[in-house]
């Protein structure tokens, strides 16, 4: 379930009104004061979005500056300007510090399209000489303009302003560089120490790319719903999870391209005869990267397996196959061997991993019985599913019951079909360990009819039945 969040305005029109008070006429002091008072009231109601808080702070200084002609000391003014601008930049940048390590503020600012010199101004105001009044005034003016175009207008008219495509640099050059370097060191172990540092560098580069992708997710997804998990406070975390998932998905897609986990050359895709593992040279090359990303991103393996399954299903569907292209069986088998490897690795790290069960379920449901598949693909799926379930008796039972790939294509349904389905259902149900607790009949409670006998204190009147009061949202006054 998605939860709404508390905002201090009844409707977006109130926000619009404040916007016009602030930005319509730069010289209109009275309406600016109205806006400051309204923003102060909103702040007392609930925590404001950062952009509003910053608008409030900067506006208050600007108004103070407009009033203060002829004052003897301007230092307080410079300090007010400086702190408002420092807080603006920090507040915009901090939410985007998503990784373990700090990214440079300038890098984030350029992603936000924030004038770079504001970042410099922030630095100067924090660590160097307090900037001149002229510079600070200009900074405040530009900040207000940035806030108008990047917060106020998009929030008030969500559709009119279209976002520029978020630039996300391609991942493939980084992956290629990584692959080449690892190939070198696996072939010639003596080079290992020599390249150790540059490999670490590349792993950091990959991490940087994922962090950037997370920021882009913010923009690409436009509106990310937030799911409510365990905690109302988890809103942020869930939102972060969604961004991270998106970033990992893009990353996984790049890994699954031919030439990634699965080598380009078909010769190199030959699987070892004695095990279900991927070809050894591939494992040697990719294992360090996969383990590195896995160590930093908890959901990486799950995302990877998901993407693999979708990729396998998409490739195999004959309707998806373009004319002339053929089903690439060696790619599919190599990819499925990687999938088993990932699951095995995940299980060896965490014996409670449910990845195997999830993968089997997803595979069964994704590969639909009705869809048209290349015959060799069907065989591949059966083998893969067999391999997946081979170690888990419970899954095996389920598999034999379902026989998901014995495609029955009878157009006519008979009563027997239904009974067969029911039998299967019963078998499947008996396999699952837990049965949901039936909701016991809730005891019916009569609403406490409130102390009718007690007289209310002076000035207090309970609007019970017969008063004409009607339930309405909190914050709405229903006269009775």
């Amino acid at each position: 379930m998605r939860l709404p969040r508390r905002v201090p305005w009844t409707s977006i029109a109130e926000l619009d009104q404040v916007c016009s008070w602030i930005f319509t006429d730069e010289r209109d002091l009275d309406s600016k004061i109205l806006a400051i008072n309204r923003l102060a009231a909103w702040k007392a109601i609930t925590q404001l979005p950062h952009a509003l808080e910053s608008t409030h702070a900067i506006l208050a200084v600007i108004v103070e500056d407009m009033k203060e002609e002829g004052s003897s000391s301007y230092l307080p003014l410079r300090q007010s300007y400086a702190s408002a601008l420092i807080r603006l930049v920090n507040g915009l940048v901090d939410p985007l510090q998503l990784g373990v390590y700090a990214r440079s503020i300038a890098a984030i600012a350029s992603q936000l399209d924030l004038p770079l010199w504001l970042v410099e101004l922030r630095h100067a105001a924090t660590h160097e000489e307090l900037p001149s009044l002229e510079l600070l005034r200009e900074g405040a003016r530009q900040s207000m303009s940035w806030l108008l175009h990047n917060y106020w207008l998009p929030t008030i008219n969500p559709t009119t302003v279209t976002k520029a495509d978020a630039p996300l640099r391609p991942l493939s050059p980084i992956l290629k560089q990584y692959k080449d370097m690892l190939k070198l060191t696996t072939r010639d172990a003596s080079l290992k120490s020599q390249y150790k540092q540059s490999i670490g560098q590349i792993l950091k580069e990959v991490e940087k790319w994922i962090a950037e992708a997370k920021v882009t997710a913010n923009v690409v997804a436009g509106e990310l719903g937030w799911n409510v998990g365990h905690s109302a406070d988890a809103v942020h975390t869930d939102e972060q999870d969604a961004k991270e998932r998106w970033a990992l998905e893009v990353f996984c897609e790049a890994l699954l391209e031919k030439g990634g986990l699965v080598p380009l050359s078909k010769k190199r895709r030959t699987l070892p005869a004695d095990s279900s593992d991927p070809p050894l040279p591939s494992v040697q090359v990719w294992k360090p990267l996969l383990m590195h990303v896995h160590s930093l991103h908890y959901e990486f393996f799950a995302t990877l397996v998901n993407k693999m399954i979708y990729r396998l299903a998409d490739d195999a569907s004959t309707t998806e196959l373009e004319l002339g292209s053929r089903y690439d069986l060696s790619y599919a088998s190599c990819l499925s061997s990687w999938m088993l490897w990932v699951i095995k690795t995940a299980e060896s790290e965490d014996p409670d991993s449910t990845l195997r069960v999830e993968a089997s379920t997803l595979l069964i449901t994704t590969v639909q019985p009705g869809a048209e598949y290349d015959p060799s693909a069907k065989k591949m799926f059966v083998t893969l599913l067999g391999n997946l379930c081979s170690q888990v008796p419970q899954l095996q039972n389920a598999l034999t019951t379902l026989r998901p790939f014995d495609f029955v294509s009878t157009a006519d349904w008979t009563a027997e079909d239904v009974s067969v389905m029911e039998d299967r259902l019963n078998i499947l149900l008996s396999l699952s360990v837990s049965t949901p607790e039936p909701d016991p009949d809730e005891p019916v409670f009569t609403q406490d009819a409130s102390p009718a006998g007690l007289s209310s204190p002076p000035g207090w009147r309970l609007l019970g039945a017969g008063s004409g009061w009607k339930p309405c949202p909190i914050g709405v006054y229903s006269a009775a």
Binding site: P4, R5, A40, H230, Q447, L454, G459, W460, L463, A479
Partner: protein
Amino acid sequence: MISAIAARKAAQAKLPASSLTQPAAESNDSESPSPVPPKRKRVSDAATPHPKKKKKSSNKPPSAVKTMRYFQESDPITRQDDIILIESDQEDEDEDGVDALTSAPVGTRAWSPDGPVTDDSEDEDPGSRKELPSGPKILSSYSPVLNQNLFPLERNEIAALGLPSSGCKTVLVVLGEDETIALLGTCTLTVIRGSVLLLGATLEPSQPRQHHRIFAPRSSPIPVLKASSSGKPSEVSELSRLNHAFRGENTLIVLQELRTNVEGLGKICKTFQGVFQLPSSLSSPSVLDLGLHGVHLVMNESKGIHAFVQPSPWDSAFVLCESEQVFLVKGAKKSGKSTFARTLLNHLLGSHRRVAYLECDLGQSEFTPGGMVALNVIEKPVLGPPFTHPTLPTHAHYLGSFTPRSSPSHYISAIQSLAQTYQLDVKTPYDDPDEKIPVVVNTMGWTKGLGADLTKRIEEIIEPDRVFEFEVEGRGSDGGWYPQKQRQDPSIPKYHLHILRPIESQAIDAATAYYSAADHRVISLLSYFHAVFPSSPSPPSPSSSLALLLKDSLRQITAQTWATSLPLLAQPPYEVDVEKAIETVHLIGAGSEDVVKEEINRVLNGAIVGLISSEISASTSYSQGEAGPGSIPYVQNTPPPDPNTSRAHGLALIRGVSSEAGDTGGTRLHVLTPLPPDLLSTTKVLVKGEMEMPVWGLLDLRGGPPEETAKPFLQWGKGEGLGSEKRRVRRNLMRKSQA
């Protein structure tokens, strides 16, 4: 069955220490009372297999099972000084289990020649194996057998025992010595014979019989009840039908269904949905049915259910508390501070009729919703997490925030006032000058910087006899507390200091993984607003009003039920005529001084306010001439009411404010509050702080998830603009160079 278990336990206790030493038992062994001498047990029952257990089958090889069984059984017994019998060093215990297997039967014969080997045959009972899977810890050593140690009571018996409601299902539970029961859900407990230990409280039979309400949701560690030394074996006249079934040493308790509708809070705040029920994933062997609605017997610890483990040093710390009056508990958050304070309170209630509790933790208050410092006088042991016992404070002050960060001096003067109230009115109560009421002071978990200074100030104000400090850094290897440790600052050795080790972080993490402090704040606040307080005193005392009962008679007034069938937005509010009922309105919190008079109606709409009664009349603090009559009496930038001349009674939600140009004259407020009407006549001052109603409290979830359409003050989805998020602070960011 009982004697079989008891016999085995005694055998374990007798075993040479080498075979059973618990690595975790460490420090407390020397202080623990010597194992209870084995008694002779009749074993005739033991040989009778359980009808219930027989149905189950097991695939496990017997030998392996036996190993597990012995180590698990051995665990509770060797640690008799504890109330709760769980240890966490699973791996070490596994190793010990092997030793126990080889030596245990020998032990059995050695001490009890006439408790023959048939005892062991019980172990081979295939049914019992299933109940002891290898992993989880055993919580309940009691295993119910209908009409043997579990008896449903009949209506006339319930009435004869004087139990609260004879309509509810009621069972009599017969416990052998040291047997434990872990409960999930809600129920009423009455001790008929013997005594039980529960969350620090020793519950004994009393006349008239005391009924204890137990609330055990999964969102907090669940309580484990342990039968302790039995009293003199006396016949229970009201239960003549059953007297033949008890043996002398048995403890008799009665469990009765308890219907308070507290479960309904889970429908308001979905985070806590079903916390009084079993998790659906739980398999049946870990849980047994007692035949009561709303309460379950939990056999083993499992995912989602954690038991309260009372660290053994606590017991010995309690022992020293008998003669002193003022106790202060401090330490970092998540160290078990509040739990310790609650347990200490329960313990003190064993030797005192009433115990005061001074809450200085604004974030996670025990008896009041957050944002208040409060002094409560407690009469009954507290058997549940804070949200299950909202209680009207004897004296309190409203700070309006979950932290004193923005108003430290107000915070300190509020505590000063409460400390004074305790000294003057509570310590030696007006109605019974012979009684000495001790006080437990719980401090906040903010232990660094300004927080440390504030706690130090509180210490100076309170002048405690004994301080319990949870140490975070540099925990000693001996693990226990060491009394009267010399402090670096020689100026404050006025009290006894005990250093306690924090509850193991692992245990805390497991228990609180699903519920954060913020979640508990939300449920406490919602519980408060849905609570139904008794509106007339019980037992009825004709002359005094509720306010007097609280202030002069120091009575505990705790919510009995919850009204959760309607969400807050559908509950009929009070209409408050501002002119008649409100003298002043104050705003506190950072930035509140900027709110101008024209905006006050907007700020109060939808706000949570403290209801304050002040001794200073309105005329001095506010002159009506400044604004039109009937408008909200607010002056920008006024300090909050002085704690020395005011007190907070509780909270209210202003769910609507009439527009100023109302045709009825003055401004009217629509107000929701659980406070009994009795108290409202005195609360003429409203204080709005930084606290807000959680979003859960603004929704109507009766018809499933709400429609995502625009509603006043609520917005779905994320704004599109940049900077539309609330500020977020990262304190764990590292520089690349730190890699």
